[in-house]
């Protein structure tokens, strides 16, 4: 997927990744928020597909998914939203979803439609390596990167397999750096540096870090070891509280640790 791989740009310096739950305050709001974040320095977007039973998410993203579903958001509205954003920016976008909404749309050329809309990658939270062999082949065919999460408890054997997949897609690894669910945290886990060094020594693909990153100092600490940082619940919560696109852009800039990023 070399020619069309938009991830390369994101990792030229460090990647700054934002997560939004699609449609949490309406689709138009998500589009405006995405563009504001891109202006604020974000160079990779994770678009969350709302699901009724988000077992890996904490309260902020659970509520966002529920609001999005109440507003009638479906996988198809998410795809047309991506298409819309794609008109304005070349920023890489990955869909972040639970498996069931994807499965329900799989038989009607979901991956082709996603590619056409401008989706670059797919992360399926509850479809680990062992269950996604077939999905991987289909993603390879459509040139959509299938992105895996790694966790502090991931064994080195699995880590190597996951890294191999990431290399075949020329994508990256998403390190969920703590136990539990998504949310806003004040500090990194005590063993963060040690874990990151160990992960980096065993992998070739870039590693981005998420789960609880909510202010500049944390982002700076993360980027000392990682190739990118993911901010999610913080932005989702700000949108829930009715923050304007302009303010969201300023928020993104505030967290963006420039001294690390601009090497």
């Amino acid at each position: 997927m070399n020619k069309t791989n938009r991830f390369e740009n994101s990792f030229r310096d460090k990647a700054y990744i934002a997560y939004l739950t699609a449609g949490s305050e309406g689709i138009q709001n998500t589009i405006e928020a995405a563009l504001a974040l891109a202006e604020g320095g974000v160079n990779l977007l994770e678009i969350g597909v709302p699901f009724s039973d988000p077992i890996a998410d904490g309260p902020v993203i659970q509520r966002a998914a529920q609001r999005a579903l109440q507003k009638g958001t479906t996988l198809d509205t998410v795809l047309s939203m991506v298409e819309n954003i794609r008109k304005y920016t070349n920023i890489p976008m990955i869909l972040f979803s639970y498996y069931n909404p994807i499965l329900a749309r799989m038989h009607s050329s979901f991956l082709q439609d996603a590619k056409k809309a401008g989706v670059d990658g797919l992360l399926v939270v509850d479809c680990p390596l062992e269950e996604s062999v077939e999905l991987e082949l289909q993603c390879l065919e459509q040139e959509i990167a299938l992105i895996d999460v790694i966790a502090p408890s991931t064994t080195s054997e699995r880590l190597k397999l996951i890294d191999t997949r990431a290399m075949s897609f020329q994508s990256f690894l998403y390190y969920a750096c703590r136990k539990g669910t998504t949310g806003i945290q004040n500090a990194l886990p005590a063993d963060f540096s040690e874990k990151m060094q160990s992960i980096k020594s065993m992998t070739r693909a870039p590693v981005v870090v998420g789960f609880g990153i909510a202010h500049r100092e944390l982002a700076e600490q993360v980027l000392e070891h990682a190739d990118g940082v993911v901010v999610g619940s913080l932005f989702v919560k700000a949108l829930e509280e009715g923050v304007s696109p302009d303010k969201l852009k300023v928020m993104a800039q505030t967290i963006y640790p420039e001294r690390v990023v601009k090497k």
Partner: protein
């Protein structure tokens, strides 16, 4: 192991699997390893059977209910009396097995989800007896409609956490338990109460519940000299059903019937009859038959019985339905209530509303059955907990 329930990589045919976030992969693999060692460990299984006998009160009897049979113009009917098990339902078999396993694994804290409260009560009892800390997640609506069970759990030292997300019932309690486990697995075991979830849970729960079928099989052989012609059980997640069916799957002369909750209507959201819509999907770790809308969002369910009020069915049942070895049918809230009342009045046995679904289906077909047939119903639990619901009518 019989042909229908042998799993490869946790699959029953195409159903089952391990659809979990990466964070849960390590604890699930740890559990799988421990369970595989334990089920082949004579010492472990002896401790388990000893608990079943001396703490839980196994074996449970088979009771012939001839006045009930007469009232519904049926043939000979026998009940497998899981309602007589300690804590009042079959759930204790599995709770004891898993808590014993957790202890062997060095876990000190147990979490569980509960719908009707029977699995919560069983887990609370097992934890008290084995000296483990117990936290039970329960939907706020279920806490209200099964209030007596909440008090029992609390009395036995469990902390009951009210879940107020989503539909505030069993599915949401499972979500919360999984979230807890993703953070706590180092010292905590998740004691899942039904034959669903990611591998190895469906197999493990089925294993710990297979005593129901083994005993029934031996009792039928001894008392009747033959297998029953029909075995009927209610199916929520499906643990009592898989427990009793497992001993009869390889005898094609035994007609097996699973009864789901038909609720109060046929629209999505008005029932929990998964096999009526028969759509497939992934929920709570496994690929199975699940109630959902066209966009893959999990549907809300409705049933007078909290224990059957769940949108997915265990993967073994999905496979048994697809291979047509078991018939899955549904009865309505009203029909279940009528059966609840009739068994109480004709036999002095108050069945759980869950088990009442199995009886209600039998009431429907009884007049059509030949009089020399033998029917075995798994009376999975007792109905004391359901009196508040009964009062509401």
């Amino acid at each position: 192991m019989n042909d229908y329930l042998s799993t490869k990589r946790g699959r029953y045919g195409k159903f089952g699997g391990t659809f979990i976030p990466e964070l849960l992969v390590a604890p699930i693999q740890e559990l799988e390893k421990a369970f595989n060692a334990a089920k082949n460990d004579k010492g472990f299984m002896e401790s388990f059977y000893s608990l079943l006998k001396n703490y839980a009160g196994r074996p449970t009897p088979l009771t012939e209910v001839s006045r009930f049979a007469e009232a519904i113009q049926g043939p000979r009917i026998f009940l497998k009396r899981e309602d007589l098990l300690h804590t009042g339902a079959h759930k204790l078999n599995n709770a004891l097995g898993q808590c014993l396993l957790a202890k062997k694994m060095g876990k000190t804290r147990i979490i569980a989800e509960t719908g009707a409260g029977q699995h919560g009560v069983a887990t609370a009892a097992a934890c008290a007896h084995l000296g483990l800390t117990c936290v039970v997640y329960m939907g706020s609506i279920d806490m209200e409609r099964q209030a007596p069970n909440v008090l029992r759990m609390q009395l036995m030292g469990a902390k009951v956490v009210s879940v107020q997300q989503g539909s505030c019932t069993l599915k949401d309690a499972v979500n919360e338990a999984l979230r807890d486990w993703a953070e706590s697995f180092t010292n905590t075991h998740y004691c899942l109460g039904s034959a669903l979830g990611p591998h190895p849970y469906p197999e493990m729960v089925g294993h710990f519940q297979s005593c129901i079928g083994e005993e029934s099989h031996a009792q039928c052989t001894q008392d009747l000299g033959k297998n029953p012609d029909y075995v009927i059980a209610c199916v929520g997640g499906g643990s009592n059903a898989i427990g009793i069916f497992s001993a009869f799957l390889n005898d094609p002369t035994v007609h097996l019937i699973g009864v789901e909750a038909g609720g109060h209507g046929t629209q999505l959201g008005e029932h929990a009859a998964r096999f009526q819509a028969n759509t497939r999907g992934v929920l709570h770790g496994c690929y199975t038959v699940v109630l959902q809308d066209e966009h893959g969002q999990i549907a809300e369910t409705a049933s007078i019985s909290a224990g059957l009020d769940y949108p997915a069915v265990g993967p073994a049942h999905a496979h048994l339905s697809e291979t047509k070895r078991v018939d899955y049918v549904a009865v309505s809230d009203k029909e279940a209530l009528a059966a609840f009342k009739l068994l109480a009045q004709t036999e002095g046995i108050i069945p759980a509303l869950e088990s009442s679904h199995a009886l209600a289906y039998l009431m429907k077909i009884a007049p059509t059955l030949e009089k020399d047939k033998i029917i075995l119903v798994n009376l999975s639990g007792r109905g004391d907990k359901d009196l508040p619901q009964w009062m509401k009518g």
